[in-house]
Each structure stands twice: as C-alpha cells, then as structure tokens.
C-alpha cells in the first residue's frame, strides 16, 4: 500500500512539472517580457504606456469588445427562440434541425470566414450576382463579417444550454404558476424565463469568450479592423523586427480578459444555476399550421444560413479555379488531386500531430482524472486549476508564450514539431479529463478495492477495472481532442515552421493569397475529418455533439 502511494506521488510530481513547463512558466515568461524594454533590457512599463497612449492599440481592445458583445447579443437573440421553439413545439424535421443546429460549433470558424469571402468578398459569387442586377450589398470585410460569422457559428452554445435548462423544468412548475392565476405570458416572463436565465448567461459568456479569443475569423475578414488576438500575433511575428514586449503586453491584456471571464463563469454563473430534477417534462405542443410554418421557417432558416457556407466551401473544392477566380458550375477534381499528390505534407502533418497529441493527451488525461477524483485534497485542487487553465488562455496567447519561452536557452523547442504536440495536448487534455473524470466520479472507489481484495495488485487493478470503466470517456474525450486539434489554427499559426505546416495553416495561407480552390479542398478534408468522428461518437454515446465541448 505504501509503495503504491509513493508511485502516485512520483506521478503527481511529474504532472506538475509538465504543467509548469507547458503552461505556467511560458505565461510568466511573457508576463515578465511585457515589462522589459526591448532596447535596453531594463524593467519598463513602456509597452503598457504605449498601449494606453496610442489610439491604435486602444482601438484593438475596443474592437475586440465591440465584435464580441455584438455577436454575443445576436447569438442570444437567435439561440433563445431557437431553443424554445424546438423544445416546446411540434415542428416537422425537428430532430434533423436539432442535429444540424449544433453542427456549426464543431466546424472550424476560419472555414466559415472563408466561405463568406467566397460568397461576399471581392470577386465573391453573390457580390458579382447582385452587382450584375445593380444592387450593391454591404462589404463583408471589417466588423460586419466578423459578427456575421461569430453569430452563426456560436449561437448553438446558447441554444444547447437553454434547451437543457428548458428540459430540466418540471411541468408542475408552470402548472403551479397557472394554478395561482397567472396567464400564459405572465407564466413565461415570471417563471420560465427567470428559471432559464442562468443558462442564457452561461451560454452568452461562452460565446463572448469564444469571440474574444478567436483569431482565424478577424484575421481573415477583419482586414484593417484589428482585434487584440490579431494584433498580438502581428507584433510577435512581424518580419520588420517584431516587438516581443508589445506582443507580451497585448497577450497579457487578452489573458486578463479570458481569465476574468473564466473565473466569473466558474464562481458566479455556475452557482446561480438552479438544480432541478424534471420528473414530468412539459408537453410538446402542436400549433395551428401557420404558426407552425413560421416557427419552422425561422429554425430551418437559421440552420440553413449557418451551414450553407460550408456547403459552398465543399462545392468550391470541386470547382474549376484559377487563382481567386472560381468557375462555379464547372466540375473539377484538380484541387483534391493537387492536395493529395503534389502537396500532401499538410494533410500528413495534421493527422500525425493530432494523433500524437491525442495519444499523449489520453494518457495524461487518464492519470490526471484519477488523481483529481481519487486523491482528493489541497494538491488535487491546485492540479484541477492548473490543468484547466489552458481553457482560459487564447490559442494565440499560448502560442506566443510557448514560442517566446522555448526559443533559446536551456530547452529549445521553437521550430520543432514537438512544440506543436506540446501545445496541442496541453490545450486539449481538459476535454479528455472532463469526460473521464465525470465517469470515474460515478464509480465508487470500493470497486477498485474489491479487485485488490480479490487478489489483484493495485496497478493491475487500475488497468483491469478502472481503465475499462473509464473507456467510454477515454474514447469520447480522445475523439474530441483529436478533432479540435485537427481544427486548431490560432496556436498553430504561431508555432509551426516550414515543413510542419498543417492543413489549417495551409488553408489560412491559401485564403490569404486568394487561392480559394486549394484552400477549399483542404477545408473539405478538414470538415469531413471533424464531422465524421463526432457523428459516430454521437450515434454511439447518444449524446449531443457539443455537450462535451
């Protein structure tokens, strides 16, 4: 027993060491860098002073807050009625609408941005069509495009959280209000809505967080409209002598925001949630044909507008292209042939890196889950915070921190594929930890003790009893890790170097140079690789696609 305990202590130390080197130290490193004058090397508040002094930088902050707030409001405005209509009323094709309605949030946002560029950008399909009939549609570039893509891709978070809250309401709650003399509208505004408000807030907060940390969408369609993540990246990467202190300062500001949001979510919003056990869910109502049609039109319309761009990308991938000019209607497999034969490296890189990071992440996740659930105490509390910390760090910030820290000195990782794997597994491991530890929590520790009592030593008991019990969580977490790694752009773009460009980098660069055809081919491969595993997982586990994200 005592030996067994020591073994776990050694593992615990190793895990803390990994977390320190991969998460804490890099953040502290750029925190320190942000206070150093790049020319003299002395302590200085110059970067922060510059930030406050130049409207250019302040505008980035304002822009970030502006697009995030607006997108969040719109996502809430779409998500709430979407959730209510689907939960309360009989609508044709409801299950399909529900499934498709969750799809946007697993599809990479920068591919959404690409699609809208194909449709409404300069030389865009719709832009040309409308121009042809004499209508000038507003430009997609700048904040409008960013808000459009954010809203359409993130509203499902509000939808999912609100529907879960609606389903948790017992019939008797609204019946009690009716029995006390409240009319239908009064019941809705005095009982139903207040009860789901914490869920709305949670959803809104998640959406706001995802908007503010997003990199791909604003960098692709923001153009001169710069947000924090993009500006931090520009400062860091700039060929004309980047400014590490300024990149550090911008990263710190972004980090303060994301961290603040996460803490707010954890300690305030989560506590406000009402716990209810719904014995009798509320009946699904059948409305008269016209209202039913209008509700259906809204829900199906939202899903259509959200998914149509991805269909456009997939169509584009099999369309004849010449640079930025696309010949819609002319079928061609050239883009795929080129992707698979001439430039297959990004595909191989993506799959290799995602698989490697996932396998490491699974082992890491299983061990951490076990420590979190079974070895409770002050140490596991600290471990919980540290291991979940990457969820509160924007990909760009984490990328910059890792690249800056391991650029020179004792350990040099920048410019190797290892740093990509490190960033991926540490950023995605929380998904695996969530799924495995929630399963482990349901299993009493005595199950393991029963195995030991029956004559199987502790480590073998762990392998033969605990691992099989956690297996569904390990598989689910692994799939989520794998697909989100595959679609990761923000940290990759900072950390990759030449030969290790991934599909996401390739798509990003091709869009930048206007090569929509090849970009669409890689994007299609990415969409298929993301959707199929999640679809299978959904079928097998019977859970909502996004419930584990």
């Amino acid at each position: 027993m005592r030996k067994h305990f020591q073994a776990w202590n050694i593992i615990l130390v190793a895990i803390f060491a990994i977390l320190f080197f991969a998460v804490l130290y890099p953040i502290l490193f750029i925190f320190k860098a942000s206070f150093v004058d790049p020319e003299t090397g002395a302590f200085s508040l110059k970067s922060y002073a510059t930030f406050l002094h130049y409207p250019y930088y302040m505008r980035c902050l304002r822009n970030s807050l502006f697009v995030s707030t607006l997108s969040t409001l719109l996502a809430v405005a779409i998500g709430i009625p979407f959730a209510f209509f689907l939960s309360r009323y009989r609508i044709p094709g409801k299950n399909l609408i529900r499934t498709l309605g969750t799809l946007p949030l697993i599809l990479p946002t920068f591919i959404g941005a690409e699609a809208w560029l194909i449709l409404l950008g300069r030389n865009g399909l719709f832009a040309k069509v409308f121009h042809g009939i004499g209508i000038e549609i507003p430009s997609i570039y700048g904040w409008k495009g960013i808000v459009l893509v954010f809203t359409l891709q993130f509203f499902p978070f509000v939808f999912l959280m609100v529907s879960a809250a609606i389903h948790a309401i017992d019939r008797s709650l609204e019946e009690a209000a009716t029995n006390l003399g409240a009319g239908k509208l009064r019941v809705f505004f005095t009982v139903t809505l207040p009860v789901v408000t914490p869920a709305i807030l949670s959803g809104a907060l998640v959406v706001f967080y995802l908007c503010i940390e997003n990199f791909g969408v604003p960098v692709l369609i923001g153009e001169d409209f710069k947000v924090l993540s993009v500006q931090a990246y520009n400062e860091f990467i700039s060929e004309l002598g980047g400014n590490p202190a300024m990149a550090g300062a911008l990263s710190m500001i972004l980090l303060a925001i994301t961290l603040g949001l996460t803490i707010f979510q954890k300690y305030w919003v989560e506590r406000k949630n009402y716990t209810m056990t719904s014995l009798n869910p509320i009946d699904v109502k059948r409305l008269r044909p016209l209202p039913t049609f209008l509700i259906w039109l809204f829900c199906a319309g939202v899903v259509f507008v959200a998914l149509f761009p991805f269909a456009v990308v997939m169509v584009s991938s099999v369309t004849k292209t010449q640079g930025p000019v696309m010949y819609f209607g002319q079928f061609s497999l050239e883009n795929f042939i080129r992707a698979f034969t001439i430039a297959p490296r990004p595909i191989i890189n993506s799959f290799f890196l995602a698989t490697t990071a996932t396998l490491i992440g699974i082992v890491f996740g299983v061990v951490v889950s076990y420590l979190l659930v079974r070895k409770r105490g002050a140490v596991s509390y600290l471990l919980d915070i540290l291991v979940m910390l990457p969820l509160a760090i924007a990909g760009t910030v984490q990328g910059i921190a890792l690249a800056a820290t391991y650029n020179k000195g004792f350990i040099v990782l920048t410019g190797t594929w290892m740093i990509l794997v490190l960033a991926y597994f540490i950023r995605k491991a929380p998904y695996s930890i969530k799924t495995t530890s929630s399963l482990l929590q349901q299993i009493d520790p005595s199950v393991e003790e029963a195995s030991i009592n029956l004559g199987v030593p502790p480590l073998r008991s762990f392998i033969r009893v605990v691992i099989p019990i956690m297996m569904p969580g390990i598989i689910a977490g692994g799939i989520i890790m794998w697909v989100t790694t595959l679609a990761e752009l923000s940290s990759t773009i900072v950390l990759y170097y030449g030969p290790w460009a991934t599909m996401t980098v390739e798509i990003f660069q091709r869009i930048g140079s206007g090569d929509f055809g090849p970009a669409s081919a890689y994007a299609t491969i990415l969409i298929v690789s993301v959707v199929i595993p999640l679809f299978i997982l959904n079928r097998v586990s019977g859970k909502d696609l996004a419930s584990s994200l």
Binding site: M1, V447, P457, I469
Partner: protein, 356 residues
C-alpha cells in the same frame, strides 16, 4: 482461521479513528463490529482487509503476522456496502474475477461458479450485467464473488444497508445460513443493533474508536458494562443512586435515591455513587399505595403508547429523567391513564450496576 488484533490504533491526522483496540476472533465465529457512524468500525474492518495500515498494533491471521502483507495477498473475501460490482463485467465474470487472478483453470472456475451460484440462488443469471439486477441480487453476486475464492476470512461492511427493511431480514438470515454451512470466520460491520443481535456469535461495541464491550448478544444485553453499551444495545433506563452500604456475604449493595431504599445485586462499589441500567421490560408495576417497600419507586404517567401485546409508559423518574416501563400482555382493566400515579419495582436480583 482465528483473527487476533493487538493494540490496533489508526490515526487520521489528529483523529484517533481506531484507538488501542485488541480483539480475538475465534475460528468460524460470526463476529460483529457494532457502533454508531464514525465509531471506527469500518476503519477497523478496512485495516484488517489491508486498505489501511495501522499506526500501531499487530494483526494476526492464525499465527501469522499480516501487518506487512498487501491487501491483495491477504486472502480475505470482502463484501462492500455498495457491493462494488464491476459494472463492465457480467455476473459470471464478476464472480470469476478472483479465480482468474489466482490462475485457476477454466473448467474449475466454471464448476466453482456453478456451485456458488446455486448456494446464493442466482443460477441462470450468469450473463446478466450487474446494472440489470435488483438490489438483493446484486448483494448475492457480491457475496458469491467474495466466497468463491474460498477465503480464510469473510469481511462484510454494512452489506444490508442499501436494501429495504423486508429484504434486510431475509438476507441476513441467508447470510447467516451460508456462513454456518461454510464455517467461515466472518467479521461483520453494522450500525443496526437488531441486525447485530440476530446474526452474531459475538459482538464488539465500538465508540469513538474505543472498544466498549465484547460479548455474545445475550451477555451484552443482560450485562452491559457501560452506559454506552446499555443504551446502544436495546433501550435502557439509566438511574443514579447513592451507596449507603454493602453486604459482602450476600453480594448486595444497599443504595438510596429520592428517599427510597434499594437492595441490588453487585460487587463492592468503588465510589459513593452507582449507575444502574434497567431495561424497560424488567420493571414491574406494583399495586397498592403503601410506601417504604424496598426497590419501589413511584411516579406520574407522562404518556403511554399502547401496542397491543405491550404497553409502554413514560413515567417521571427519581432523577428528573423519565423512566420507560414496558408491560407485556397487559390486562385491559389495568391500563393507567396519563397523570395517574404509578408504583414500580426495580428487579432486586438482576445485575443492574454498570460503570459510568
């Protein structure tokens, strides 16, 4: 297999969960650790199983010191409070688990499982998943899994606490039947005194990590040594008295309370006060008004509960605490009303004196 514990102490930080406990459990005994939650009974059982290391003391199975034998090599069979069935394995594989760990050949595994399923009346359910079983069936699987490895010692941690009241009674009888048939030394943990009395050869009462009393159910019931043991095992009236004398020839204590004289059986008291534990059914209601009769007290009926075969009175007592009296098979005419004065006699020949 005999089990011997010598001065076992187990600390959790500053808490002495088990405090200097010594016990000897005989071959084939059904031995129960009884006490309220937090008394250390489960900790002691888990220490015997090897899930905790004692901070002091020795554990012996037979002649063999097993302090340093890891849990998986102690050859005990354990039944857990929540059964701890492996959710990913069928009933058959759950039971086979310990046999496979011992590398028993397959045909023998099948044979032994067949036999044990027979004796716990689960034949035909081999392929089921544990989640598809009722609480009672899960309990039987847990028991079969622990017994099939032919352990030297069977450990049971509140095995019946998750079952409904009716099933608890039938299961405890079945556990006792199987235990007797196999003659296996069993250590059983429960907080339910009725359950403990029903199944045990001997009982150890634990309180705050310390041993209060060890004995057969009857010994503890009739001769509780401490106030805690008296009150935990059945219900009891605790009465304090002043000692006025001792008759060494007759082994009798002369005592006094509320102006009444008492003559009680007992050893020479060490102090000026003694404490009595009197079971409610040992007290007799006496007729008449006369005062001065030895061992007789009087009080007002505060409340009464009529239960058919028995009537239970709460009567004002000499020390201020009400005295509970149970009259079995009462005559309809003799039932007293609330507020009436009642006279009752404490038994002169039962051992009533306990240590504080």
């Amino acid at each position: 297999m005999r089990v011997e514990l010598t001065n076992i102490t187990k600390l959790f930080g500053p808490l002495r969960a088990v405090d200097d406990v010594s016990l000897a459990i005989g071959e084939g005994d059904f031995f129960t650790l009884l006490g309220p939650s937090g008394c250390g009974k489960t900790t002691l059982l888990r220490t015997i199983a090897g899930f905790y290391n004692p901070d002091a003391g020795e554990i012996r199975f037979g002649e063999r010191l097993i302090n340093h034998i890891p849990a998986h090599r102690r050859e005990t069979g354990m039944v857990f409070q929540n059964y701890a069935l492996f959710p990913h394995l069928s009933v058959y594989d759950n039971i086979a688990y310990g046999l496979k760990a011992r590398r028993i050949p397959k045909p023998e595994i099948a044979e032994r499982i067949g036999k044990i399923l027979e004796s716990v009346q689960l034949a035909g359910l081999e392929k089921r998943s544990p989640s598809k079983l009722s609480g009672g069936q899960q309990q039987r699987v847990a028991l079969a899994r622990a017994l099939v490895i032919s352990p030297q010692i069977l450990l049971m941690d509140e095995p019946l606490s998750n079952l409904d009241a009716k099933l608890r009674v039938s299961m405890r009888e079945e556990i006792r039947r199987i235990q007797k048939k196999l003659g296996i030394t069993t250590i059983y943990v429960t907080h339910d005194q009725e359950e403990a009395m029903a199944v045990s050869d001997r009982i150890a009462i634990l309180n705050r990590g310390r041993l209060e009393q060890v004995g057969t159910p009857a010994e503890i019931y009739y001769r509780p040594e401490s106030r805690f043991a008296a009150e935990f095992m059945g219900s009891s009236n605790i009465i304090e008295m002043d000692v006025t004398g001792w008759d060494g020839d007759q082994c009798r204590i002369v005592a006094e309370t509320a102006g009444q004289k008492f003559s009680l059986r007992g050893e020479k008291p060490s102090g000026a006060r003694i404490i009595l534990s009197v079971r409610p059914e040992w007290i007799r209601v006496v007729a008449g008004q006369a005062d001065g009769e030895a061992n007789v007290l009087s009080g007002t009926v505060l409340s009464s509960t009529f239960l058919g075969s028995m009537i239970r009175y709460r009567v004002s007592g000499p020390g201020g605490t009400p005295i509970v009296i149970e009259v079995h098979d009462p005559n309809e005419g003799s039932i007293r009303k609330d507020g009436e004065i009642i006279r009752y006699r404490l038994p002169p020949d039962r051992p009533l004196v306990i240590r504080d």
